[in-house]
């Protein structure tokens, strides 16, 4: 099977490369200057990029298939322009044994959509006490270790976890919030939470935990370096200005820390809570405009090198409860790219190549994988999108089971038209002739 995408603008994490005719053959990029192909797509007016890579998604399998399952989650991801998704292990039961990992890969091998990659729990039942077998999980194909959904309260366990993960060439991802400072907090702690009488979750809870985790990382690096192991800490969903500052300081110290930001923390703020709609309930919480600005600057400078969706689907009924009883989490994998293309690139002049870098190269690098570039011989994990036509966010059209959205009704550009996974079409929009 060969495919020719003609006359699309070529953009990858390294920059914009003008128009080209990209020939895909045997799952790889065979040429950037045309050639014979069984099928041809006219890419005029569209942009071709490496497909997106989501380092942080909640696909809810096993055990919570009422919220999402592998089939719906992987299709939704492909529709969103993602060729691969890392699913978090906070399932029921948690993904924590090598056989859990193998079993899920086996299920996914029969499904369409994006490629499934698995994060496994760092500790048993994600309780933060006993470590899981990093080496065996790696052998089974886990690409990341994380107790996401919970914070790692025990610093000693996290420290040793970083060491064992490093020995297995795995990154450890952390949900960094100090549990006791966070308390019962639901929304960002500040003047607005005080006014609305809603329990606040302060930015300091995130900053305090990031600061501690960076010292834990320093310890692990000191222990691992003589043995030649590469420690990598991945800080998920940084939401605050102070959080980004701490990451920047750690980079100045050459600490191997990678930081992530989510589409919702870049586009929504605590102000949205005036609606009292649990659709905005997420942890860490939506912050202030000055946090959003700081996150954008950090994303542009590379202090934050990765955008993870933190796609966290729940049933509509669960989100139609009161603010306390509705669960935390925002589903977004189908709108993440058009949202960020519209709000960052189109409206704020954020460079497109940089957005692609943060949604593809950055997460890969954090997991110890190499980036994907538009060059001959590269695997054809590609996305074609339309930078011009705008469309409203309509949750009724979602492939995810979570058919609601905090961005409902937003008019966005940049909808993915085609997603290729090793040359194979995993998403094609009806708008693409």
């Amino acid at each position: 099977m060969s495919l020719l995408i003609k006359n699309a603008l070529l953009v990858d994490g390294a920059g914009e490369h003008g128009r080209g005719d990209v020939l895909i053959n045997n799952g790889k990029i065979a040429s950037l200057s045309g050639g014979e192909a069984a099928t041809t797509i006219d890419g005029s007016g569209f942009v071709l990029t490496p497909a997106l890579f989501d380092p942080h998604s909640h696909l809810r399998s096993p055990g919570q298939e009422v919220k999402e399952d592998l089939r719906s989650g992987l299709l939704a991801a492909a529709k969103g322009g993602y060729a691969a998704v890392v699913a978090m292990p906070n399932t029921e039961p948690a993904i924590q044994r090598p056989e859990d990992v193998r079993g899920l890969y086996q299920q996914a091998s029969r499904l369409d959509g994006a490629r499934l990659l698995l994060a496994a729990a760092l500790t048993e039942e994600q309780q933060g006490r006993r470590l899981t077998p990093a080496g065996l999980l790696r052998q089974a194909g886990a690409v990341l270790l994380s107790d996401d959904g919970r914070s790692n309260d025990d610093a000693g366990v996290l420290a040793r976890g970083l060491l064992y993960a490093a020995a297995a060439s795995l990154t450890v991802a952390v949900h960094a919030e100090d549990t006791s400072l966070r308390g019962e907090g639901l929304m960002n702690d500040g003047a607005l939470s005080a006014q609305l009488g809603i329990p606040g979750n302060p930015a300091e809870a995130e900053a305090a935990r990031i600061a501690r985790d960076l010292e834990v990382l320093r310890w692990a690096v000191r222990k691992a370096a003589p043995l030649g192991h590469q420690v990598r800490l991945y800080v998920q969903h940084v939401s605050s200005k102070r959080g980004a500052e701490l990451i920047e300081m750690a980079h100045a110290d050459k600490l191997p820390v990678y930081a992530e930001v989510t589409p919702h923390h870049l586009t929504l703020t605590a102000e949205n809570w005036r609606s009292f709609d649990p659709v905005f309930k997420v942890a860490p919480p939506l912050r202030e405009p000055e946090d959003v600005d700081a996150l954008l600057r950090a994303l542009e400078s590379g202090v934050i090198s990765s955008i993870g969706s933190d796609h966290a689907p729940h049933t509509r009924a669960e989100k139609e409860r009161d603010l306390q009883n509705a669960p935390f989490g925002i589903p977004n994998i189908e709108v993440a790219f058009p949202l960020l293309f519209s709000e960052l690139v189109d409206k704020r002049g954020f460079p497109l190549a940089k957005l692609i870098a943060r949604m593809s190269d950055g997460p890969r690098e954090a997991l110890g994988m190499k980036e994907i570039r538009l060059r001959v011989g590269e695997v054809a994990d590609l996305m074609l999108f339309d930078p011009g036509a705008s469309r409203s966010v309509d949750p009724a059209t979602f492939l995810s089971k979570a058919r609601y959205s905090p961005w409902q009704g937003w008019r966005l550009k940049g909808w993915p038209l085609l997603t290729l996974l090793a040359g194979k079409e995993v998403w094609r929009d009806a708008a693409l002739a």
């Binding site: 709609d277 669960e318 409860r321 009161d322 009883n325």
Partner: protein, 305 residues
């Protein structure tokens, strides 16, 4: 006055609207003074009380208010445990709506529930208390009680004392009383004060708040504040913030003493004060009924003639 559909809080309310409502409450109180305490004003209307947390006093007050105006009343207790884990509150409320109801009196331990319900339901929603956020009929009855004796609140100093951070009564009064011209102060221990209280001046210095106050509103102290660590010591609270006869002397002579109830005697308030000459606690209860009659009437029928 534009017809108000819901009473959720006082955001967007104008002084004239509040005054008109309180004026109606005065007419309603006349009804309560008659031997035959019933008028046909809401005959044919059906009002539901939907309580996500138990509160006998507030519920009884609303039900009585509705019945005095000849409305039919149905009550639903929706405890967290009666709702299954994944059950939609919206679906639960829409099931009630199918019974053809005109107004919903909603009480919840969680902020925002009344707003959410107002977005889901066709009828009027009256917030009977949502978490720490708002308790507008309590604030209205407080204002009514104060106006009864102070005749107007312009420039009057009102001190709210106690657990301000967790109090919907404090939030609603801080919203409402300044609308009527009052100068509102809120005092409590530092761990029980919010970052801001719109409409009020915050202080941990009780004497400053009480000094020359025209009225003192004492809040109920929840014992769970000890468990969550926001209050280290009840003994220390009593020693520094309990309202005593001596401390009432810091206020103006004859200052009014209010409490939303139920009271922890000898905790937030020295036991003897509740029955003393300052106290208007009993007055508040009757004002509550009149105010709730007025609210139901305003929302369902419109402005009083």
């Amino acid at each position: 006055m534009a017809a108000l559909k819901h009473l959720l809080d006082f955001e967007g309310w104008r002084r004239s609207e509040v005054e008109s409502l309180l004026e109606t409450a005065r007419l309603m109180e006349e009804v309560l003074e008659r031997p035959m305490k019933k008028v046909p004003a809401l005959k044919g209307f059906t009002i539901a009380t939907v309580f996500f947390e138990p509160s006998t006093r507030t519920k009884t007050s609303f039900e009585l208010a509705a019945k005095r105006m000849s409305a039919d009343v149905v009550s639903f207790a929706v405890s967290g445990s009666s709702l299954s884990k994944g059950e939609s509150y919206k679906d639960t409320l829409l099931t009630l709506q199918a019974m053809v109801l005109d107004a919903y009196v909603i009480r919840s331990p969680v902020a925002g529930m009344a707003h959410q319900a107002a977005g889901w339901l066709r009828g009027s929603v009256i917030n009977a208390g949502d978490g720490r956020r708002a308790h507008p009929t309590q604030a209205l009855l407080d204002a009514y009680t104060l106006l009864d004796e102070l005749s107007q609140l312009e420039g009057k100093k009102i001190a709210i004392v106690g657990d301000i951070a967790h109090s919907r009564v404090a939030r609603s009064n801080a919203e409402l009383l300044p609308l009527l011209g009052a100068d509102v102060w809120a005092a409590g221990p530092v761990g029980l004060l919010p970052e801001v209280l719109k409409g009020a001046r915050l202080t941990s210095n009780l004497a400053e708040a009480l000094s020359d106050a025209d009225a003192v509103m004492v809040l109920r102290l929840q014992k769970e504040r000890m468990q969550d660590g926001s209050l280290p010591s009840i003994r220390e609270y009593i020693s520094e913030y309990q309202i005593t006869a001596e401390r009432m002397n810091l206020a103006r002579p004859g200052a009014l003493l209010l409490h939303p109830g139920p009271m922890n005697r000898d905790l937030e308030l020295a036991g003897t004060l509740a029955e003393g000459s300052h106290s208007r606690v009993e007055r508040q209860v009757r004002a509550g009924e009149a105010v709730r009659m007025a609210v139901l009437y305003h929302l369902l029928v419109g402005r009083a003639a």
